[in-house]
């Protein structure tokens, strides 16, 4: 076979193999065809016989390529070991790792910095015994109660000595608040479900929520964009 004929033979055979691989995902196809032509040229250079005679029909050649590339030919776990190592080394996973580490560090450091920057709170008042509603009313009338904090169905009273008391509140807390105010008690009254209540509860955790949500979104993006890897089942 002359050089020109041989080149034609390689080109035609390679084209037929490519056509038989056309249905593969783009990444796998590109990888398999990477140096197919130069490889076929090596085979062709060995003998004068046309490639079809030496390698069989291009469709069968392509089928063997798929089988060797896509289907695990070794022990199952072994190819996965190599694939797993590679996956965690790819730039995409490195970026994801860096983002995760940064977020984790921020999540740990931020509360720490805030805790240091915030001046220490005054010592908490001591806890006294629990009051029934009648007790509370009696104490309030006697002028022993300094403040009253009612949030939804729970209430805390602080007496003149600085002790605070859990109070069993009646079903309706609004009349209670009114009566306390009448008795000269400094009363704060909030509905448990008010927007302000949720805001004060959620605000300290808002930063954390944003961090977690951002990390989740980044993770999903990384996973969805990960390129196709050779796996079993393309036949």
């Amino acid at each position: 076979m002359t050089g020109a004929n041989r080149l034609d033979d390689v080109t035609a055979y390679a084209a037929a193999v490519r056509a038989a691989l056309a249905d593969l995902p783009a990444a796998a196809r590109a990888d398999l065809q990477d140096d197919l032509e130069s490889h076929l040229a090596e085979v062709a250079a060995e003998s004068d016989a046309p490639l079809r005679e030496r390698l069989g029909p291009p469709e069968a050649y392509a089928a063997d390529l798929r089988a060797a590339y896509g289907v695990q030919t070794g022990t199952k776990g072994i190819t996965e070991v190599a694939g797993g190592r590679r996956r965690w080394r790819s730039p995409r996973w490195r970026i994801a790792g860096a983002v995760a580490v940064t977020l984790a560090a921020a999540g740990i450091l931020l509360p720490l910095v805030l805790a240091i920057a915030t001046p220490p709170a005054p010592p908490a008042p001591e806890r006294g015994d629990r009051w029934s509603y009648e007790q509370l009313v009696a104490e309030a009338r006697a002028g022993h109660v300094r403040t009253m904090d009612i949030v939804g169905r729970t209430a805390v009273a602080t007496d003149r000595t600085g002790l605070w008391h859990d109070v069993a509140v009646p079903g309706s807390t609004e009349p209670l608040a009114a009566e306390m105010t009448r008795d000269g008690v400094d009363t704060t009254y909030r509905q448990a479900t008010s927007a302000q209540y949720w805001f004060t509860v959620l605000l300290p955790n808002l930063g954390l929520l944003v961090l977690v949500a951002g990390f989740g979104v980044a993770l999903v993006l990384v996973i969805r964009r990960a390129p196709a890897r050779p796996r079993a089942g393309w036949r």
Binding site: H39, A60, R66, A68, G70, I78, T79, A82
Partner: protein, 116 residues
């Protein structure tokens, strides 16, 4: 797997082609057709060209091999494959698994007529 070789050998080879290719590359770097030739020279006549080439590409994609191009006298560049650290670990692991299987099979076949 094509190009001659009894059907039985061909089936057996499919399972150990990874190991064979890794072992060939452990000796020295090679390009695709050189790997085919060296496998056949070592007595594995049943290995098919496409199977070896596909195996090389898969091992490369899996990170067990690195590759580099070398200009050849005539025609296109040759792509050489080199066993990297992950490949060496994979070879050691696969060789261990293989030797376990052969020991078990040897024990099974021991003393039987089927043994050559």
């Amino acid at each position: 797997v094509r190009n001659g070789g009894s059907p039985d050998t061909t089936q057996l080879l499919k399972g150990v082609l990874d190991l064979a290719v890794l072992a060939v590359l452990a000796d020295r770097d090679s390009y695709g057709y050189d790997v085919v030739r060296r496998l056949r020279d070592s007595g594995l006549h049943g290995v098919g060209d496409a199977s070896v080439y596909g195996t090389l590409r898969r091992l490369h994609q899996a990170g067990a091999l690195t590759s580099y191009a070398v200009a050849s006298g005539e025609g296109p560049h040759r792509r050489y494959y080199r066993l990297n650290e992950a490949g060496q670990a994979l070879l050691a692991e696969t060789a261990r698994a293989w030797s376990g299987v052969t020991h078990a099979l040897d024990a099974l076949l021991d003393g039987r007529e089927v043994r050559p």
